[in-house]
Symmetry: C2
């Protein structure tokens, strides 16, 4: 379902090369895989490559059996829409859409009829405790509220793989716990959740933890 | 230096009124004041009012002796530039400026000569561990790196009052500790630091903690 082999990403800055990710190999089992590591260690880069937002400089990545590394941008977007949800580190809500419309957006792209998609979006907003704010726009919501709308949106298509980049960074303990339970609940059957977090207590709740350092996978630890 | 009396902010949504902040009164002593509370409890709203980004619906706020509640937008901006630094929850770096230029920007506004402002900006980037990334643009930096550039920028004018909204949310422990030490070091003499954080360990390092709930100040606790 989600597999990376010798994945690497390098950026060039004038005379300098930055190896954001190097030789990453991992076959993601079902359940929640937490990814931890210092700022700048390659976590977001890894998620972006696994979800096909970017192409690797080296290596291969397969999502739902599709070879993302060999696909063009539109094809990667298609695979992503069909199989993955993504919670961005910077939320990326569409500012001209309400909370409800943001959450419903993936469903709109998929061609789901309006009534059904609004029902689904409303149910998801309820799950993240924001049902009463469905008509509000991102600028009218707090940071943590925006983050939760982003999470609801990532779940809209009930994805096979959910990528979440720091989904609790702006949330207090209670709101963070609610989101974490949602993410853990998401990881059923064949589903995978890949969760980047700096919060080691959150990471400890995952089924396994991958630790990155300077763009390399330096430790894989299964939770007891 | 920083004083609020019966401060309130209310937003209107169609038929609904949201009281984001209610009857907040506090005279900020020197040192670090942490502000904690659940998502949506009014923390960012409070910071925005204290720093003059927004006008209160009720009450008064004084920054460096100036009555922000009674000033127009441009005057509030002038007071802020002269006396305060601000780290936004969403970082708000200028995407077309390099890290160095972002940090130097307040100095540019203040009319500091180029050589001096670049020296100052470079020194600040060194302090947050990003001296080697001065020429990179925000999109070329990780989330935590962007956050640290934002922090460096907030310190550019050595402000009397520093407002920091979740400055460590995207940072690992080591980077977060480095930033916290910077903020604690900032709070010398008459200076104030107002620090919003969900991280209770971070809050415990402040000189006092204010706790908000549903827009109200429900607890003030001095650290031992
Ligand atoms: N422009 C606005 N219009 C309407 N409501 C708003 C606006 N800005 C904030 N609010 C609402 O006011 C309340 C307080 O918002 P605020 O951003 O201060 O919360 P916060 O404590 O910073 O939350 P978080 O921890 O999630 O960042 C929230 O319910 C929010 O949705
Ligand atoms: N577009 C880019 N161009 C150049 N360098 C980049 C680019 N994107 C990321 N980098 C660099 O690659 C490294 C890894 O970045 P990445 O965003 O993956 O880190 P991260 O682990 O997510 O960090 P954080 O915890 O701060 O979010 C960093 O040094 C970053 O500055
Ligand atoms: Mg990141
Ligand atoms: Mg906030």
């Amino acid at each position: 379902v989600l597999y990376a082999a010798h994945l690497g990403k390098r950026y060039r800055q004038g005379e300098v090369w930055i190896d954001a990710l190097r030789d990453f190999t991992f076959d993601f089992p079902p359940g929640v895989t937490a990814v931890v590591g210092p700022s700048g260690s390659g976590k977001t880069t890894l998620l972006n490559l696994l979800a096909g937002f970017d192409r690797p400089s080296a290596g291969e990545v397969y999502l739902a059996g599709r070879p993302l590394h060999a696909l063009g941008e539109d094809e990667r977007a298609g695979v992503r829409l069909a199989h993955a949800g993504f919670v961005f580190q910077s939320w990326n809500l569409l500012p001209t859409l309400s909370a409800l419309e943001n959450v419903a957006f993936p469903l709109l792209l998929k061609g789901v009829p309006r009534r059904e998609r609004n029902q689904r979006a409303r149910a998801l907003l309820d799950e993240v405790g924001l049902g009463h704010r469905a008509s509000h726009f991102p600028h009218q919501l707090s940071g943590g509220e925006q983050q939760r709308v982003a999470i609801a949106r990532a779940l809209a298509l009930d994805p096979l793989v959910l990528f979440a980049d720091e989904p609790t960074g702006n949330l207090d303990s209670a709101a963070g716990e609610r989101v974490l339970e949602l993410l853990l609940g998401q990881a059923r059957g064949r589903r995978r959740v890949v969760l980047v977090t700096h919060d080691l207590e959150i990471a400890a709740r995952a089924h396994r933890i991958l630790r990155l350092k300077d763009g390399r996978l330096v430790e894989v630890r299964a939770s007891p």
